[in-house]
């Protein structure tokens, strides 16, 4: 067991969590609808068939959700650009292509960046957070993101959710500091997933609880508390994803944490977002916590991580739930979920046969254009245009080689024209797209994301979101670009 007295490392400096961001997909899969589909063969799933879990849209994956969470953390930060990016997940789309590099370019982070993917277990996020908080010097953006695809009719299908959380860690005026942490590494295989496969394989829950959680977690938590110099009964928020139900109270009791401090594991709101979940729950806790409160974060998986954090005066908690938790649209079509996750193959017709081979050389040339949504602003007349071009598009200007990079991802925009196209192939028809006009007068023909036909009208305000543009199943490649998401009223 490895313990660390965070106070020795962190207390002298102002290193800590500077900002948080979290993202859940708009869609919330109705668990009753899932269970109804399986009632004929797995009637026992009914017991879990309450509420909703978050569900990635067809064009979302661990990368795109990480980008959205990262954008939110950076927007909240008002800090210098990070020098390091860590992307934690067990479901990154590429085994060899730095997923964090896609995220970095979508966030327009400086190219002089240390970036890494980490995975391996559901502790990927919590372990990375310990390392980030223990590290010294420089801003580090840690994003944990997960889109798991459990086997149909498994309990995991109902338990898991898709989502991402981002924490900006570094020196400054943190909202929370690490007081101490502890980690245990053990090849306790409660579940596993072979590389390249979807769906976990797991062992009996009673064994996982009695021999795993019950025996392995409490000593680590005690070590972390000891390292932090904090009594268990002083913990104000106990953050532990609900690996199995009722485990939180069991651990709390064993280590002496007050049961009323157990943080809602968000089962009813989004489900367990895997490696992202401790960070997602922490993000929510930090949004609600006041100053001087202690937070215990525990994550189990091939061992255990435990962190004890303390909020600073910058923590100005609010009783209201953060907006990212409130948004959502219930999806009751289980077949749509199966199609989105590639678990059934529908007849999409010949238009879906289009070869989506990507010219990797062209993709690199256009990397900042495509990932960074970078257009050009003419130094002569100020016209913003996408993509940047050698000659200014303004007919009254036409200056050559005057354009500076100009990022459109965070610019206000609205719909100029639109359609809902039932002819073009899209994994979620109709294909909605149209001319988008930015407040700076730039104009781009774009796809619309996360909306229904009724949400589209000329003049509707838009937010830009980073999404999968096209998938190339023949070669296992996927390309990303930005889409325009109509601003919907909360709760829609």
């Amino acid at each position: 067991m490895n313990t660390n007295n965070g106070a020795n490392i962190g207390a002298a400096t102002d290193r800590g969590i500077l900002a948080v961001g979290a993202y859940l997909p708009r869609l919330r899969l109705d668990r009753k609808s899932v269970a109804a589909g399986h009632r004929w063969m797995a009637p026992g799933l009914r017991g879990l068939a309450q509420g909703v879990r978050s569900m990635a849209n067809w064009d979302e994956d661990a990368i795109t959700m990480a980008v959205e969470a990262g954008r939110r953390a950076l927007a909240a930060a008002q800090a210098p650009a990070p020098e390091m990016l860590t992307l934690a997940s067990t479901t990154l789309p590429f085994a060899d292509r730095l997923n964090a590099a896609v995220v970095a370019s979508a966030l327009s982070l400086p190219k002089a960046l240390a970036a890494s993917d980490c995975g391996g277990s559901l502790r990927a996020g919590s372990s990375a957070l310990i390392r980030a908080l223990q590290g010294s010097g420089g801003q580090q953006l840690l994003i944990a993101s997960e889109r798991r695809i459990p086997r149909p009719a498994s309990t995991a299908e109902l338990m898991v959710g898709d989502g991402a959380a981002a924490l900006l860690v570094g020196e400054g005026e943190p909202i929370a500091r690490l007081l101490g942490s502890a980690s245990l590494t053990a090849d306790f295989v409660d579940h596993f997933r072979e590389s390249g496969r979807d769906g976990d394989y797991g062992w009996e829950e009673r064994w996982v609880r009695d021999e795993g959680l019950s025996k392995l977690v409490p000593p680590v938590v005690k070590q972390a508390l000891q390292a932090a110099g904090v009594d268990a009964n002083r913990i104000d928020h106990f953050v532990m994803p609900e690996k199995l139900r009722k485990v939180g109270p069991m651990v709390a009791k064993k280590v002496g944490v007050r049961p009323e401090t157990i943080v809602d594991p968000l089962f009813d709101r989004c489900g367990d977002t895997g490696a992202a979940h401790p960070l997602l729950m922490l993000a929510r806790t930090l949004a609600k916590a006041g100053p001087g409160q202690t937070i215990l974060v525990v994550q189990f998986g091939s061992g255990c991580d435990a962190l004890v954090l303390e909020t600073t005066d910058r923590a100005t908690g609010s009783d209201t739930e953060p907006a990212w938790l409130d948004e959502g649209q219930v999806e009751t079509n289980y077949l749509k979920y199966l199609s989105f996750t590639g678990q059934i193959e529908l007849e999409w017709g010949m238009r879906a046969e289009m070869d989506n081979k990507t010219a990797l050389s062209a993709a690199w040339r256009a990397e900042e254009t495509v990932h960074g949504f970078s257009g050009g602003r003419c130094g002569e007349c100020g016209t913003v245009q996408f993509p940047a071009s050698r000659i200014c598009v303004n007919p009254d200007c036409g200056a050559v080689d005057t354009q500076q990079p100009y990022r459109l991802a965070d610019e206000p925009a609205k719909i100029r024209s639109f359609t809902c196209d039932w002819l073009s192939y899209k994994p979620c028809p109709p294909f909605m797209f149209g001319h988008v006009e930015f407040a700076n007068a730039a104009r781009v023909l774009m796809e619309f994301a996360d909306c229904d036909p009724a949400d589209l009208a000329v003049g509707v305000p838009l937010d830009m979101v980073f999404r999968i543009k096209e998938v190339d199943p023949m070669r296992g490649f996927r390309r990303y670009f930005w889409k325009a998401k109509p601003q919907l009223k909360a709760g829609e």
Binding site: G349, M350, R351, E353, M354, D355, N356, K357, T358, A359, A362, A363, R365, A366, T369, V370, T383, Q385, F386, P387, S389, V393, N394, P395, R416, S417, F418, T419, C420, D421, W422, L423, S424, Y425, P430, F431, F433, G434, H435, E437, A441, A442, R443, V444, L445, M446, E447, P453, V458, G459, K469, E470, R479, F481
Partner: protein, 400 residues
């Protein structure tokens, strides 16, 4: 200052295959069908053709690349043949090549021929476009109806036209073309339809329904051009000349700059203004006896009436509903059925439009003959409203 093309080149022969689902015919069959008619019309032998332009948009659809398919299919005797492609404006582009070649004095007799085998895709509608390179990284993979449907939403917003009024006017466009095509034996879709049929049809790309979309057809059309002098030597008395040929190509302003309303076809405005000037037309509303426009979708025809200067801005839906562009209206539009019903074999469409104007001027249009047809306009559009090529020709009687 250039003098333009007006009256410098005559059309002495035209041909057009029957358009439709020509399952048993290949491109060679269609080309020969069109050329045979044109040669008979011109009264010349095939070996009198000195140079040719072939218009094919989608060569991968069983036609083939280069000018070879024309030279080989028609066994042209080692003459200069050029293949041109400018999306759906390809047919008019081929005509431009042949007409300019004659006007330059380089050749006495030239051929423009467009052909397309669209029905070899395995499904209805235009084929999925082939991939480019960079633009695919960000541009939506839009279908043609999806791209043209954009006009409708922007048009409604700009002019405050209600959805129902616009749908009614669009339906009128399609019903009219079906009525006209019923009189045209070469047309692909000759059935009559009702406004109700249009309004109740399945949606393709909101607000375009099935009957708002043009037919997808196989076909070929061609023109033999020469000088007016040679036309006379060939015994032609009614000489039909080219009054104007204009082409305007988007430079990215519509797609990327903020000065386009999204409710119009900018290139058509530019090309029309130049075409009227070249043809010496002061008031197109009075001068034009008929028009054939690129009605790939009903909404396209609707906005084009404004962009060609024939309806006032915001008035096209009402002019259409009042019958201004009907067969018996002030400016008959698509008297042959248009792309909508004659069909749209892409490379042939521009030449098919000219074919109809030519037949009308010569009084050979049979049941669909207009009482007066001295001068007509064709407009051929390739691409999408925000990024396109627009070709306009004005064809008329020599001296008109």
């Amino acid at each position: 200052m250039a003098n333009g093309i007006r009256d410098r080149v005559a059309i002495v022969g035209m041909g057009c295959s029957r358009f439709g689902e020509r399952w048993s015919d290949n491109a060679e069959d269609l080309m020969l069908e069109a050329l045979s008619e044109a040669l008979t019309d011109a009264g010349i032998e095939r070996n009198k053709i000195e140079a040719a332009w072939l218009g094919v948009c989608l060569e991968e659809n069983n036609v083939g690349k280069t000018a070879g398919p024309l030279a080989q299919g028609l066994r042209l005797p080692y003459i200069a043949v050029t293949r041109v492609e400018n999306a759906c404006a390809t047919g008019t582009e081929a005509l431009r090549g042949a007409v300019y070649a004659v006007a330059s004095g380089a050749y006495d007799i030239a051929l423009a021929l467009g052909v397309e085998k669209l029905k070899d895709t395995g499904y209805g509608g235009l084929p999925v476009r082939t991939r480019g390179v960079v633009a695919d990284l960000w541009l939506p993979n839009a279908s043609a109806p999806g791209a043209f449907a954009q006009l409708a939403s922007a048009y409604q917003a700009k002019y405050g036209v209600s959805y129902d009024d616009l749908k009614q006017a669009m339906a009128h466009v399609s019903v009219k073309s079906h009525d006209n095509a019923a009189l045209n034996p070469k047309a692909h879709l000759r059935n009559k339809i009702t406004i109700d049929d249009v309004l109740k049809a399945p949606t393709v790309a909101e607000p375009l329904g099935l009957y708002d979309c043009s037919g997808v057809s196989d076909g070929a059309a061609c023109a033999i051009v020469t000088t007016p002098e040679i036309a006379r030597e060939l015994g032609k008395r009614d000489i039909v000349t080219v009054k104007s040929l204009q082409l305007a190509v988007s430079n990215g302003e519509e797609a990327q700059f903020s000065n386009w309303d999204g409710a119009s076809v900018r290139t058509a405005e530019v090309a029309a203004a130049k075409a009227y000037r070249e043809a010496g037309i002061a008031d197109p509303r009075e001068a034009l006896d008929l028009i054939e426009v690129h009605d790939c979708f009903s909404i396209t025809e609707l906005v084009l009436m404004e962009n060609l200067g024939l309806s006032d801005p915001g008035r096209a839906p009402f002019d259409i509903l009042e019958g201004r562009y009907d067969r018996n209206g002030k400016i008959p539009c698509q008297v042959d059925g248009g792309l909508k019903c004659f069909g749209h074999p892409i490379g042939a469409s521009g030449l098919r439009m000219v074919y109809e104007v030519y037949q009308q001027i010569l009084g050979r249009a049979g049941e669909r003959q207009l009482p007066k047809a001295d001068i007509g306009l064709t407009q051929n559009l390739g691409g999408h409203p925000h990024q396109n090529v627009c070709a306009i020709s004005i064809i008329g009687r020599l001296g008109a």
